[in-house]
Structures are given as structure tokens and as C-alpha cells.
């Protein structure tokens, strides 16, 4: 636990050294660290976290989106990074508004992001710019709407 705390701050320290404006907020909750990033820093931070030998976040466990409707910025996209060599986890969060729900894709950094991003587009309606094949994955191709949005009813007609 102790060393985890130290090394997590290592990631924060390295990122701040690199670019003082890279992190807008650091959240610690139940010994998990979340870094909130501005959208335009996402790719450079991800590339850095993956390539840096001391951090080595080569394994992207999961990407998930949360709809904070009616709050704006409405969508939060969370990236759960795992470092296998350091045995650590880190969450990165990017917030986007309802008017412009677009995020650059991380598929070039972690190829596994492909299906996660397609799922988020399908269910939440957040677009990933530069994605190689951004189509619906779980819902039928001709489906209208994005079912995991909070303003989408659970049952009955849309």
C-alpha cells in the first residue's frame, strides 16, 4: 500500500514535470488514484505513461463512460491502466460536453481500446476521433439512440 502510494505520486510527479498543465485534478478515493486530464492532453499523456520505463502502463484493462446528465460536462470517459511490471493501477478521466462529445482515440497506443471505444460509441454516443472502425458493436446496426445515456428510458418506447 505504502509503495503504491509513492509510485502513484511518481506518475503524477513525472507528468507534472513534463507538462505542468497536463493534469487538471487528482482524486484519491479508497486508495485509488484518478487523474483528470483535459481532452487535448490525453494522447500525449497516454503515450508517455505507456512508454516511460519507470511507469510502464502497457496493459489497458478497461475503458468505460459515465453519463452525468444533466450536469455539464456531461460525459466522463475513464481509462483503467495497469502496469504489470510495477503491479499498479491508475485511472485517467477525460470529461467532454454534451454539445461536443468527441475524444481522440487511443487505439494507436493500446490496440485493445478498439472494442471498448466502439462499445462506448454504441451505448453512450461518445465519438472517438481517428478510430479505425467506429461502428455499433452490441446494438443492431440500424439502432437509433444510445441506450446507456441517462435520458434513455429503461423500458417502454423511446
Amino acid at each position: 500500500m505504502e509503495s503504491g502510494q509513492q509510485n502513484e505520486s511518481l506518475a503524477v510527479r513525472k507528468l507534472k514535470e513534463r507538462d505542468p498543465n497536463a493534469i487538471t485534478e487528482i482524486i484519491s478515493f479508497r486508495s485509488e488514484t484518478t487523474l483528470v486530464l483535459p481532452r487535448n492532453r490525453l494522447i500525449s499523456v497516454c503515450e508517455f505513461l505507456k512508454a516511460d520505463r519507470d511507469l510502464d502502463f502497457a496493459f489497458l484493462s478497461d475503458i468505460s463512460a459515465v453519463d452525468r446528465f444533466p450536469v455539464d460536462p456531461r460525459f466522463e470517459v475513464n481509462y483503467h491502466l495497469t502496469s504489470l511490471s510495477r503491479r499498479q493501477r491508475l485511472r485517467i478521466k477525460v470529461k467532454v460536453t454534451a454539445k461536443d462529445p468527441v475524444i481522440p482515440t487511443v487505439v494507436p497506443v493500446w490496440p485493445t481500446a478498439n472494442w471498448h471505444e466502439r462499445e462506448i460509441w454504441d451505448l453512450m454516443g461518445v465519438r472517438f476521433e481517428g478510430h479505425p472502425n467506429l461502428t455499433r458493436i452490441l446494438m443492431p446496426d440500424d439502432w437509433e439512440g444510445h441506450p446507456h445515456r441517462k435520458d434513455y428510458p429503461v423500458e417502454g418506447y423511446r
Partner: protein, 403 residues
């Protein structure tokens, strides 16, 4: 049709006119309703595109409209072969969110039962995988032992498959008397049975021909695609959530992470068979550790239901019982990610609370979903006859892929 994976999969140039073949969704060896669009040049696969979503039931969306404990039965249905693993993952996530400490006795019983589930899931995998490749009798033997595990689970939880036995804060009820003796008797017989399966397969020349060098997944591809579980360990990594990020007292157990380096179907078979033995070892340690008496649920006012006796005898207990079962629990606002090692890999639950009695968002990181994405790496450039072996070897459960 573009392929669904981002990094270059070895492109194979067609020499002849190609054919597009639709495999599934009603194909017996896709283990559910998986559809794969295959582009073929003669017998060589040029492209493979998994198409999923046929079983999508919106479980994550449903969870947002249920109280925290009402979500537990839904987690059974995600991966119906390893339901207790999913129960555990979800319960641990909510316990982390609400900061509940589970008593040691309940933690050990959880370890014992999830390892039993791992054995039963691997047995189903072994049996169905063998039948896919033409070894009929292994299936019958594997299901014989799995049946015994299901009987044990029924005696403990009342249900064969959809157990929902782990609850937030501990277990649903006290296990029946004599369950430890029953499980240890089963484990004693299991060693001989595993040797029996190995007699049928490990040195079998047909089995080796159909599995060795087939469906090779390189370690760097596996990590780039975030493949986890036995599929990753067959490629040489020793990533196992039980060792890397221990939960539910796994750090107190002595076990080895089973790995192979070949990365082919045979290597993954060896990993899973070795894991059956390893899980049996963990179960035996757990049986020794579980104290005969003690609480099976945490005692936290307002978050965990009071014991039956307390509910019947004290007015305070009755009030809390009533409040928990009508209103539910209200963890503080926040978000947690809790991963566990299911038989298929890293199951992660990302639970977001807004302070109300319902989870604001539940996202499940399904290992089958992620592992299936790596399928093109296993089959592109290989023969179509090996596609079935490659689908079977990544051990997908479509309920988990589609959620």
C-alpha cells in the same frame, strides 16, 4: 469489411478469388451466439471479424435502476459458468465503495467456493473444447465431475448455477453442516479424475496434432490486446490478479501461477489443466483455514443486514433489517474499480456511486469480451480447420461478451 483490430494483423495476399464465409451465430462450436465473418482463400483464412451483440440484454443499464444488493443476481447471469466469481467481483467492489471489512471466515469460504467454480468452469471448457476437436469421451467425464460441484453449490446456496451466494458484507447464509467434508472428499477424488483426462488427451497424438502450433498468440500481441487469464498465461506472462492485486485474503494462500510459453492451443490446455490442480490445492488450504464457528457476514449498522436472530429479538435489528431490504444501502459518492481473477481472466467492476441507494453506473470489464478481440491474431493466415480450435481455446462465454 475492415477488420476490427487496430494493430496490423499479418496481411495475407490472396492468390485466387476469395470467398466470404459466415460462421455462426448458430454454430455449435462457437459456444453460444458468436458470429465470425471469415474471408477465405481456399482453406486459408485471410480475415476474421467477430460479430457480437446477439445476447446483449443491457445488464449494466438495469443495474442503474436496482438497489446495490438487487444487482447481485444479475452478475450471475453475465458469466453463467463462473457465477460465484462475478458475485465476488461485484460484492468486493461495493464493499470497497462502502468501506466494509468482511470477516476472515467469510473471506476463506469465498476463496473456497470461487476456486471450486474455477474448477467447474475449466471442466466445462475442457469437455466442450475436446468435443469440438472430436474427443467425445472427455466431455462425459468432465461433466460427471462438474455435476458433483453443482450439487455442492446447490447444497450450500440452494441453486446449482445462479447461486447469488455472496452478498455485500459476506455470505447469504451459513453453509450447511458437513459441507467441508463433502468438498474435501470431492477434492480427493478429483486428482485421479484429472489424471484420467490427461491420460486421454495430453499424450494423445491426434490431440497434439490438432492443438500444437495452432492458434499461436505472441506475448506482445496478448498484452497489446489486454488478453488476460489462462489465455495470457499460455503466452508466457504470469499476470494473475490473485497474485498481482490480492483480494479476499488470497495473499495468505500458497499457490503457483501456471504459465506456458508456447502460446498455442496446447499451451493453454496445459495451463488450464494445471490450474484445476492448483485450485484444488487452494481449496484444501481453505478447508484447513475456515474456522468452524464465527460470523459469515460483517456487522456494520446500516450497510449489512443484521443476523436473523438479532432481527427477531431486538427492535434496533428489526429497524435496520427493514431499512436495508426496503431502501437499500447508501455508500458515499465516489468510484471504485475492483478486479478479480475469474476462470477467464480479469473481471473488473467499475462502480460509481452518487450517494443514493442505487449504483449510478456499473461497468463490467468482461474478460471474454476483451479476449475475443484477439481472435484474428489466432486465425488469420492459418487453416480454416483450426478456427474451431482457436475459438474454443480462448474460452469465451457469450453472456459475458454481450452483457
Amino acid at each position: 469489411m475492415s477488420t476490427t483490430v487496430g494493430t496490423p494483423i499479418p496481411a495475407v495476399k490472396p492468390e485466387n478469388k476469395t470467398m466470404v464465409l459466415n460462421m455462426g451465430p448458430q454454430h455449435p462450436s462457437t459456444h453460444g451466439v458468436l458470429r465470425v465473418i471469415l474471408e477465405l482463400d481456399g482453406e486459408v483464412v485471410l480475415k476474421a471479424e467477430p460479430v457480437i451483440g446477439y445476447l446483449h440484454t443491457g445488464i449494466e443499464k438495469n443495474c442503474e435502476n436496482l438497489t446495490y444488493s438487487q444487482c447481485i443476481p444479475l452478475t450471475d447471469r453475465i458469466d453463467y459458468l463462473a457465477n460465484l466469481s462475478n458475485n465476488l467481483g461485484y460484492c468486493l467492489a461495493v464493499e470497497k465503495l462502502a468501506d466494509i471489512q468482511v470477516p476472515k471466515r467469510a473471506q476463506y469460504i469465498r476463496v473456497l467456493l470461487t476456486e471450486l467454480t474455477r474448477i467447474s468452469s475449466h471442466l466445462v471448457w475442457l469437455g466442450t473444447h475436446a468435443i469440438d476437436l472430436g474427443a467425445m469421451s472427455v466431455f462425459l467425464y468432465c461433466f460427471r465431475e462438474r455435476e458433483e460441484i453443482l450439487k455442492i453449490l446447490e447444497a450450500i446456496s440452494g441453486q446449482r448455477m445462479m447461486t447469488s451466494y455472496f452478498r455485500i458484507g459476506g455470505l447469504a447464509l451459513e453453509p450447511p453442516p458437513g459441507y467441508l467434508e463433502w468438498i474435501s472428499k470431492f477434492l480427493d477424488s478429483l486428482a485421479g479424475h484429472v489424471a484420467e483426462y490427461e491420460d486421454l488427451l495430453t499424450e494423445n497424438p491426434i490431440w497434439k496434432l490438432r492443438t500444437q502450433g495452432v492458434g499461436v498468440l505472441k506475448l506482445e500481441d496478448a498484452i497489446a490486446m489486454a488478453v488476460s487469464g489462462p489465455s495470457l498465461r499460455g503466452s508466457g506472462s504470469d499476470y494473475d490478479v490473485r497474485k498481482y492485486f490480492p483480494y479476499s485474503s488470497y495473499d495468505e494462500f500458497d499457490f503457483k501461477v501456471q504459465t506456458q510459453t508456447a502460446g498455442d492451443v496446447y499451451a493453454r490446455y496445459q495451463v488450464r489443466v494445471a490450474e484445476i490442480r492448483e485450485s484444488a490445492k487452494i481449496c484444501k488450504q481453505a478447508i484447513k483455514k475456515i474456522p468452524p464457528q464465527g460470523p459469515f457476514r460483517a456487522e456494520v449498522r446500516g450497510l449489512v443486514p443484521p443476523s436473523r436472530e438479532e432481527m427477531k429479538t431486538s427492535i434496533e435489528g428489526l429497524i435496520y433489517h427493514f431499512k436495508i431490504w426496503t431502501e437499500g444501502i447508501t455508500p458515499p459518492p465516489g468510484e471504485v474499480y475492483q478486479a478479480i481473477e475469474s476462470p477467464r481472466g480479469e473481471v473488473g467492476f467499475f462502480v460509481v456511486s452518487d450517494g443514493s441507494n442505487r449504483p449510478y453506473r456499473v461497468k463490467m470489464r468482461a474478460p471474454s469480451f476483451v479476449n475475443l478481440q484477439a481472435l484474428p491474431y489466432l486465425v488469420v493466415g492459418k487453416l480454416i480447420a483450426d478456427v474451431v480450435a482457436s475459438i474454443g481455446t480462448i474460452d469465451i462465454v457469450l453472456g459475458e461478451v454481450d452483457r
